[in-house]
Symmetry: C2
Subunit: 345 residues, 2 copies
Amino acid sequence: MKTIEWKDGKVFLIDQRKLPLKYEIINCSTYQEVAVAIKKMKIRGAPAIGVAAAFGMALAAYSSKASTYGEFIQDMEKAKNCLFLTRPTAINLFWALERMMNLINIKKGVDLFTLKDIILQEAENIAREDIEINKAMGRYGALLIKDGDNILTHCNAGALATVDYGTALGVIRTAFEEGKKLQVYVDETRPVLQGARLTAWELTQEKIPFTLITDNMAGFLMYRKKVDLIIVGADRIARNGDVVNKIGTYSLSVLARENKVPFYVAAPISSIDMSLKSGEEIPIEERNPKEVTHILGKQIAPAGVKVFNPAFDLTPNGYVEAIITEKGIIRKPFEKNIKSVVNTA
Amino acid sequence: MKTIEWKDGKVFLIDQRKLPLKYEIINCSTYQEVAVAIKKMKIRGAPAIGVAAAFGMALAAYSSKASTYGEFIQDMEKAKNCLFLTRPTAINLFWALERMMNLINIKKGVDLFTLKDIILQEAENIAREDIEINKAMGRYGALLIKDGDNILTHCNAGALATVDYGTALGVIRTAFEEGKKLQVYVDETRPVLQGARLTAWELTQEKIPFTLITDNMAGFLMYRKKVDLIIVGADRIARNGDVVNKIGTYSLSVLARENKVPFYVAAPISSIDMSLKSGEEIPIEERNPKEVTHILGKQIAPAGVKVFNPAFDLTPNGYVEAIITEKGIIRKPFEKNIKSVVNTA
């Protein structure tokens, strides 16, 4: 089973709120259900929510009762707007929705019956390309991993954050498949525990050796020279190489530089937002305080306390050693090199 | 109720594993029960476990069936060794046990009946002095806090980590009692959540405004200029000013320096170990992996995963702006200034 796939007119996905204690497949038969699944983080990870949004558009297309192109595009705009508002930070969501809308505009004139199939095909393309992209990223990124390395990762940038294979974890998988001995340190990643729940689950499945730590242990491991490199994913990258990723990433990057540990970001070109001069322009989602005061439904803090709960943070480009993409490894100066890679992509 | 106190021949303490959901007082009538309470972290915090150990010695004294001083000192050595082995990092434990044993040695010749009362008196002295020390520390430390400051703290260095009033939180309390407007950012402090459970509970009681965050959010808050200073406690300080404190402290100190936020440590002179050249010599306790894989009894990670769970880390003196003690604020060069403060203490 892939993280997300289309089957028999429905979108099937692994419910990531339930892992690792329960492996449960759910399905969505309307785009509204897909929107809820994204909002509630039943599916999460920048590339995966992009694919979910694309499949959501396919559901919207098939359920449309429009008899004219004008009516149809109205229905599709409505679905796009609904999916658009699910989460603000990861750009892949907007990128996928835009790609779907562009296609619909280009295919004006095609009969609606055929157009709906073309829309589904495009969503399937995005899903298939995602896996190819991850594998290409893996091949480039694995060049940075030496036999015997200890690699630290944060959150989940694995198969569960994508359709399959993963971005940061995809790089680790490739190195492991190449026969390199390695050990992964997994940050548990509070508040939603994507590391302890999802990355730990994936690495267990893949039989890749790992050690689980709480987020506040990572710095001390680096200080003790136990970490050779760090690889994380990204939710959005500005054209200057600033990276917005899961909360805690910034801290890791500072600790990495202080301890001379190279800090890598693995992300598809579709995560780069060329319209933004710097990461300061990327909106940072703030989520429900309950994610902090409760853990898996269990209250840990006194009732009613004030909470700050940003889901992401900003890592300035200066802390990033390189960005691993499906088109190669981008090094400094980022502004210039990102531009040239994106333009040839 | 104080965090720990002696009443009717027993040691009463607040069960800190149960807070904030339950406020429960337990009592120990043997030194072995005190040892278990320390080991299981029903009582924790460097100064508090020192006091617990001293009261444990008083329980051992009263329960001794010895009829000669020779037999008595054997019983007391046995109790000391049991209490000594409960936790390895905080020096206050060893300091308190040594102070009790020294007294017993000095009072050789006093009849056993009287000696037992002298031993209890000394334990009571340690407990009473702890509060006075915290208040003195508070008065010095409050000089570092300006009206309107946002103060970040980690773990719990409050009334619950001491007999009353607290070290790092004692400083914050003093500033608040002086009428300074302030706001505290509380790190939840995984794995045992002393911040979310204990510091949040104390600040709620004291009506001091605070915001709860997960540990990995602290760096981003500093980057966004939301933190004016950091104050933490200490489990042991070497004579060169290296600080061992709750895991995550090192990371905070690095992030603080990177963002030009002053990083202060508040601790009594009894937390300074003059026998150690540097913090590298301080043993770092590693605790049960279940603290990481489970939260308040609830499993969060796949079963059987490998875990690294150091309870403390080492902050090199270079990251510490100053050490707040009951004898004044110690600044750099630490080696020289610590020596002169300790010698006049």
